[in-house]
Symmetry: C2
């Protein structure tokens, strides 16, 4: 069957990706919403022409900061095959993209897919248009050879992933007993390899995102006129955030983390990962840890705090002599097993209030947790992963690295919590694809071999015994 | 002569202020530059019609952040009288304003002067249009009564004060031996009283404004994907700024400050200043110091640090999971006698680098001082101040408070350094005028009595013996 991945078929794949990348489906830009709607319609039409049972599911509207409402892009669902004797897999993906402008530093027009030395440059090429298309091509490949699909294949494709999957949770919950009722496995290909070696992803970190607001005077004050008389909110805020060690000082956080087992240590040791190319990629001379196992562990299975910025203070260029009246620090703590967001919320809030109390400041501190996403972790011995290992072996003639994702893919938790089904993350993106950055790309190699991987995987999944779900 | 300040003449004063406030001479908004040019022309025309020798001095262009250039508003100079037997005073003022929009929280249109219970609300009413007009009215009053001016009066009126007096220093330097050659005294009325009691201002704090930039990765990173592996610039920056005490920890800063003398302590003790109304005005329950002398001393004659904000981090509303690659803290230290900006620059830079070095971070710290303005302090026993006390006594029948200004009025230093002449600051603005804030106002009382004060002051200055300059 892989032989079909040559000549005309490859041309069809390239043409499809070019067509999809050309649509500026930026979900964060309300002015591009018509393009986003067109992207969903294009996706639906593609699946309809392939003979799928396709629906464009209305998921309502979003409210904009100015109070106006805007229609959300519909979610595309599609079904290929309903044979009750076969397994049913459901592929999740998204076709919206991050913003991109040529003047941000792109070498080529981000919406004109450009092949340079086998790399296909364009916004959304790797995140997540080519992986979604590769799944579609996998189905097309069986159809092109007039072969029956070895498993029933469903698709759920959304258009709001880059801005938080607005409306998707509710849609999944609403269709739990209809569209999702016969789904056995969920497959997500919205991530990437760690090196040139293929990978399967078995975990993601969660995230607890906090706002710490310190409020003082009723309005911003001139720092010359008032400096020295008022207790400045900014001083309080930096005082409670400042920490000479760079470690998480909040009691209880580190204690909750699952200990690193010898087995896990050994697994990390075997993973292909080049520290130097990682350093080069991000442009630093030194990382937090100088050995691979520690670094990977802190990327995937230990919590970390990042302070993202401060709202309400002076953040423009130039100099302004202001005492900001109300300042809000934005920071987040990545969640790993066995941390519990509800507990973390309490720990962080209590800690900040206790540090703040020591300052005896008349200003008011308010701590709120605006996101509380749990981590996700799969069993790498599960038949779904064994099938994945077999498919990688068949296509690439090597074993995959079993890796985790430091970021959060909240939809994995939703699928797991709502449907109760097992999930596998099967990336085909390269480690250097530049997601969310300038010059995002997908290599021809990963796109085409990735399609072969998915073809093989459908076949491997069909051989999982029906009992093991 | 004060009797002229009634009936028609008051109407003329009100009309002039209404006309000036109606011009949106916002120097920070490049789109308002035509209005600003019109404001300078209106000012010049007013002075011309009064018979002054008026010039609109071209001070060149400013460069905008986008590389374009924009003509600066011309500086208006005017001369009334050239009698070599008289003293010559030079009044400095500005007719540009801070931004203001009705929707910022103004109760009335900020560019339509509105009289509510004797308060004249409008942007620029107090800062600095009414004080400039009050000086003009003082000259007009003598003219209206066909009285000879007791001193020669010059004006220097600029249109860029609110954005840093771009081009003015060079203009003063260029005209040192021409326009300024016969000036004996400089008068500035660009400040306010401390209470309902009239005041003379004899000092301002200087300001050293710093940028502390920490640079790490070559671009912003996703906090999920990279959090835990990179040493985050934001953590470093907050780490070196954070300080549990709220005091200035930088060695050498406090040591340089001139000690508070018993005499000064007593002077502060006698100043009319209501702590409760000060607290109410800024909306706080507690100030840095709970007694008047400490508070005034820390407002005027001790240094203070304010952290204004951080550039380069996430400062918008909402949540973004970013590790900012380069972050720049903006902070400033108010300067008082006997601090030296050059020394402060070295102290701050050395201190931050030493604290940063302890972190052993691979990130790069760069500290730059972008403003280094010295404090200004006058001798309150100087004949110029004695004349001021006499004028206040005559018009208000009380002694003025001798106060300082916590903010920086760099032009005072420039006048002093370039011309070598003595300077007096003679405010007529109220303590609650709301400069730079919503609902800025000037009371009719301060405007009219302020004009009388200036009339009286010109007379008092004329009696200073020619020898004492």
């Amino acid at each position: 069957i892989y032989n079909c991945m040559e000549g005309d078929f490859i041309y069809v794949c390239m043409y499809a990706l070019r067509e999809w990348v050309a649509i500026e489906s930026d979900s964060s830009n309300v002015l591009k919403r018509p393009d986003l709607h067109r992207m969903m319609e294009t996706t639906a039409q593609k699946l309809r022409l392939m003979g799928g049972t396709v629906e464009l599911v209305d998921i309502g509207e979003q409210e904009l900061p100015n109070g106006q409402t805007l229609a959300l892009p519909k979610v595309v669902t599609a079904t290929f095959g309903t044979d009750p004797n076969k397994h049913t897999v459901c592929v999740y993906g998204h076709v919206d993209v991050q913003p991109a402008k040529l003047e941000d530093g792109w070498a080529t027009d981000p919406y004109n897919l450009t092949d340079i030395n086998g790399n296909l440059y364009g916004r959304g090429a790797s995140d997540n248009k080519a992986p979604v298309l590769a799944w579609i091509h996998a189905v097309e490949a069986y159809q092109a050879l007039s072969m029956e699909l070895p498993v029933n294949v469903k698709f759920v494709i959304e258009g709001m992933e880059e801005t938080g999957s607005n409306g998707l949770d509710a849609m999944i919950l609403a269709q739990r007993d209809t569209f999702f009722s016969d789904v056995d496995y969920i497959i997500i290909s919205d991530c990437g390899w760690l090196s040139r070696r293929p990978a399967l992803t078995y975990g993601t970190r969660g995230n607890c995102y906090f706002f710490a607001e310190v409020e003082g005077p009723k309005q911003d004050l001139h720092s010359g006129v008032y400096g020295g008389t008022v207790i400045e909110p900014m001083t309080d805020l930096i005082g409670i955030l400042g920490d000479p060690s760079g470690k998480i000082l909040i009691p209880g956080i580190r204690e909750a983390v699952a200990p690193l087992s010898d087995e896990e240590w050994k697994m990390y040791q075997d993973i292909q990962f080049d520290m130097d190319s990682y350093k080069n990629k991000i442009g630093v001379t030194q990382l937090m840890y100088s050995n691979k196992v520690d670094l990977l562990a802190h990327m995937w299975r230990y919590p970390t705090v990042s302070v993202h910025g401060i709202e309400g203070a002076f953040s423009d260029s130039g100099s302004k002599t202001v005492i900001p009246a109300k300042v809000t620090a934005k920071f987040s703590i990545r969640q790993v097993p066995n941390m519990d967001p509800a507990m973390v919320k309490k720990q962080v809030t209590d800690y900040l209030h206790s540090v703040f109390a020591k300052r005896k400041s008349p200003n008011k501190l308010k701590v709120t947790m605006v996101i509380g996403a749990k981590p996700w972790l799969a069993d790498t011995q599960h038949p779904l992963y064994e099938a994945g290992k077999a498919a990688v072996k068949r296509v690439f003639d090597m074993d995959p690295d079993l890796i985790r994702e430091g970021g959060t893919i909240p939809i994995a938790r939703t699928f797991q919590d709502v449907t109760g089904k097992s999930i596998i993350m099967m990336p085909i993106g390269g480690f250097d694809d530049g997601l969310h950055s300038q010059n995002e790309k997908m290599s021809r190699y990963n796109y085409i071999e990735g399609t072969k991987l998915f073809i093989a995987y459908l076949n491997e999944v069909s051989q999982i015994k029906k009992t093991s779900v």
